[in-house]
Symmetry: C2
């Protein structure tokens, strides 16, 4: 059996290595258009930023390793230019020699990835406007930065000051993962950054009120963020650097520009071969990662996958799923019944000292699908026991099914312990956990790591209070006409209060119930919604109609954004 694998990074490389392990006799040919196979795509922004100093660190496995260790015919700088599904052949072009050869296959695996979107804007090909996809991309960006640095440092050449940290200006276009990682890495190099995003939020998979917190955090760290403004073009400025022109008419000076406005599945090869393409623009595959041609498989950023939570087709260009898909295809080719269960969109991103992470469905996705059978809560727990030093408040948005308590999704921002919790939620979603399961999860606790009631338990408990009817809930963006009751202490109100809210500190509530209206819904406020929960319980049991405002004062400023 002869298997050709097109694309030697992530999915393709995983597939090749696994297939060799499963089938010592198969003839495996892996071709990669670029000069490197199996490189650490996800590390590129950090190589630009300097955290990963050596380019060689990014090369996980070399062409030689594939040849020597796996007996795989591995060819770099070799592009598959066309497929004949009838003849079962692939035409390969060697980019170094220009030579074109034809290879036959029994099975073909496509792992072409996705290409950065480069709209035909004026000036987009100017030197200094970069994408970040490949090792050479990162190398060119570093060379550009170092060149600029040398020029800029001439006047101070004698100061001995590290010229790398001199202020320079970057414009990053696009506030998704790559964009944010590039922002962080430019800042790490001491470069001033303006982030331009056409949408009304950064990090499109997040809900806007969570993205808002990310934006504030970045702004606090000195990033200039321009939302709701698309890029119109680029031009050289008088001083020889660049200018980024936006649709609103603004002009942003820049010594370097990064285009990170998204990626598009590389489907040309598949399309030309007549393979089915999905509505989202990715190669359509079944659960065995098989395309519409039974002898051709596809994996990674180029394919559409099923969203595990919503069941919808989606494009999720992430490394983890790509690697697992590569394994699955190898299994299937080797005659095993392996299936891809879909993707949850689990993602995580470092932003200065903070981490933003997500898994499962967002509220905006559910809304888009017309799914109203969900509830959300906002939580602000400490990352570990508050009495142990270093505890940081994290913000959790947690989504669950109203009808049965199924865990749907979580979004977390914080400076400590975020990865720990998002992984628990991710595992919970995979296994079909309900909020009642989360109430009972037994997670690791010692003062430096968590709390006896972990944030994950806490999410389950609060959600269960809602679904059991113990704590009717409302949200800042839809308060309606309720009577606002603030149960905080007077000193707290001096810092921030809600106009029109009536104050009865919680300890006085039982003795002052007579002051509250029985004909209106009482919406209870405190700092984090905990005391308001206690107050809600008192009110409900005394015959009042009462609701807790989720997240209390802590959610007010970001949950009221439009």
């Amino acid at each position: 059996m002869k298997v050709i694998i097109v694309g030697g990074v992530a999915g393709g490389a995983s597939c090749a290595a696994r297939l060799r392990r499963l089938d010592e006799k198969a003839e495996i040919l892996m071709v990669e258009r670029g000069p490197y196979v199996s490189y650490a795509n996800c590390g590129l922004p950090y190589h630009v930023g300097g955290s990963i100093e050596k380019e060689s660190s990014l090369l996980v496995a070399t062409e030689q390793l594939f040849r020597n260790q796996f007996a795989i015919d591995c060819r770099t700088n070799c592009e598959a230019v066309s497929i004949s599904t009838g003849k079962k052949t692939v035409e390969l072009k060697n980019h170094l020699t220009g030579e074109v050869t034809t290879e036959t296959y029994d099975k073909l695996v496509l792992s072409p990835g996705a290409a950065p979107i480069r709209p035909p804007l004026p000036g987009i090909d100017l030197p200094g406007v970069f994408s970040v996809r490949t090792v050479p991309d990162a190398r060119h960006i570093r060379e550009w930065l170092d060149r600029d640095t040398e020029q800029a440092s001439v006047p101070n050449a004698n100061t001995g000051v590290d010229t790398i940290s001199k202020p320079k200006r970057a414009v990053v276009v696009g506030g998704g993962f790559i964009g944010l990682e590039m922002v962080e890495n430019f800042m790490h190099r001491g470069i001033e950054v303006t982030l331009i995003e056409k949408l009304n939020q950064v990090m499109p998979p997040l809900d806007p009120e969570m993205a808002c917190l990310v934006e504030r955090y970045m702004t606090k760290h000195g990033v200039h963020i321009e939302l709701n403004d698309g890029v119109a073009g680029f031009r050289k400025s008088g001083s020889g650097s660049l200018e980024v022109l936006t649709e609103s008419g603004n002009v942003h000076p820049a010594d370097i520009v990064i285009l990170a406005i998204g990626v598009r599945p590389e489907t040309a090869l598949a399309k030309n071969a007549g393979l089915e393409i999905g509505k989202r623009g990715g190669i359509r595959v079944d659960e065995h990662m098989r395309t519409s041609d039974p002898n051709i498989f596809a994996v990674g950023d180029a394919v559409e996958v099923k969203d595990f939570v919503t069941g919808q087709w989606t494009l999720i260009p992430l490394a983890g799923p790509a690697n697992r898909q590569g394994r699955i295809v190898a299994d299937v080719i080797a005659g095993r019944d392996a299936r891809f269960r879909g993707t949850q969109g689990t993602s995580i991103c470092q932003i200065f000292e903070a981490t933003i992470a997500q898994t499962g469905a967002s509220e905006k996705l559910l809304k888009m699908l017309g799914d109203n059978d969900y509830e959300k809560i906002y939580l602000y727990p400490n990352s570990h026991a508050g009495y142990y030093p270093g505890a940081k408040m994290m913000v959790i948005k947690f989504l669950f099914r109203k009808s049965n308590g199924l865990v749907l999704g979580a979004q977390i921002l914080g400076e400590d312990g975020v990865a720990k919790r998002i992984d628990s939620f991710a595992m919970a979603i995979q296994m079909g956990c309900t909020i009642y399961d989360l109430e009972e999860s037994e997670l690791s606790y010692a003062p430096p790591y968590g709390s006896a009631k972990d944030p994950v338990n806490f999410a389950g408990m609060v959600a269960a209070d809602v679904l059991r009817g113990d704590m009717p809930l409302c949200h800042w963006d839809s308060l309606g006409n309720g009577f606002l009751l603030d149960v905080r202490n007077p000193q707290e109100l001096e810092v921030e209060s809600v106009p029109g809210a009536f104050n009865i500190p919680l300890p006085q509530l039982r003795s002052r119930l007579g002051e509250l209206p029985r004909d209106r819904e009482i919406l209870v406020i405190c700092r984090s919604a905990q005391r308001a929960y206690y107050a809600t319980r008192i009110l409900l049991q005394n015959g009042f109609r009462a609701k807790n405002i989720s997240g209390g004062m802590l959610s007010r400023s970001h949950c009221t954004i439009k």
Copy 2:
């Protein structure tokens, strides 16, 4: 309805607060023998060590808060001295006034905790020999340390050197959680520590080959560890400090001694009331936490609980389960059908820069139960992508059912990312995950946080390779008579090699198969068992009998201990 809760920490306090939320009308009386309710038991070692500077930080909720916010009759320094189950009364003794009163109850909740074991050894009551259970315990230890410091610092009073960091000597007796936390915290104060443990390992819930790594790590950090030696007694030395005498005849000088040889459920009250006590010495309860008397419940360290994985009764004195049990009892008293699902023994402990954590069953527990339907693997993955700085190797021991792949347990030691992974395993065990589920888990990955194949995925994949028969496995402690094949490179062998092992570097294996015996089982060695896995695949497919030695050279030194 009148509910009396005996014990105002963790389980008792959780129960009281939850019961008030569920039932505004119930009369709730919570009595606590000590001077504080709801204090942070788990923080005591860190208060001694100085990480938690203020004693007040440990007081999570006060008597006043319970009275004012929860309308709970909360009494400290008040001990329940006897129960009449017939009359449904409890006799309470006020330790400040000596007054004894009798209170009736409809429901009674026992949350008496567990007491540090203090065997009747000579000198055990000498000043300077402490247990660590209560806030006053921690206060007395701090006072003792400060007093000693002043004495010790007299000769250097003029140097201005911080006398807190002066070397002093502590002996910690017992290598469980509290013992290890005390060791860490003494070291943090600059005190020299000897740890004496009667068993052949620290951290009894761990398997010995994992505990061995903890011991080595602690030794490397300057802790003197004496295993296999019990304490015989204590005496004053000539210089006025203490000496700890051991069963082996050793004498360890000490300025302070901590007794941390375990805890014993406080069952006197329950026993005298005729309640059933289990074989492990804890109060026996059903899944609603109800004792043998239908009106009496018990929670926390004093009760026996079902081990979630093995189904056995066990004593697991941990804060998380105690808190959840308290909630469950409140639910049950309020007429709800809440059940405790048992405990997994999820635990975590900080040791200098490292973290040791565990969840589910250990191998020694399975062996003790005569359960042979399990397999184990040792893994040494990086905490995050190796190409991103700061990645640390972690050691994972992973246990799973041989017959069906069910996840049974995990033990992890490492300096980064341990809590994240143990929580994923904990959630996996709760939800009945198999290793095949773990293969497909979608956990958070970006270079600073993980790898495209997370250590949790990796555990699933390796385990699945074993159960699918792709990678027959063996272990260093039971190699038998196999032919040892080392597939590392010659340079690696120069550092450490296995006597008698034949070397063929992996890239040469396919061409040198003729040098290998066909009549013997070939046991393959490499550094971490990854290349050995590749080699095993090559051998198996070429008709050899081959097994991979789990963990490779990395597991050799700790997995061969007796």
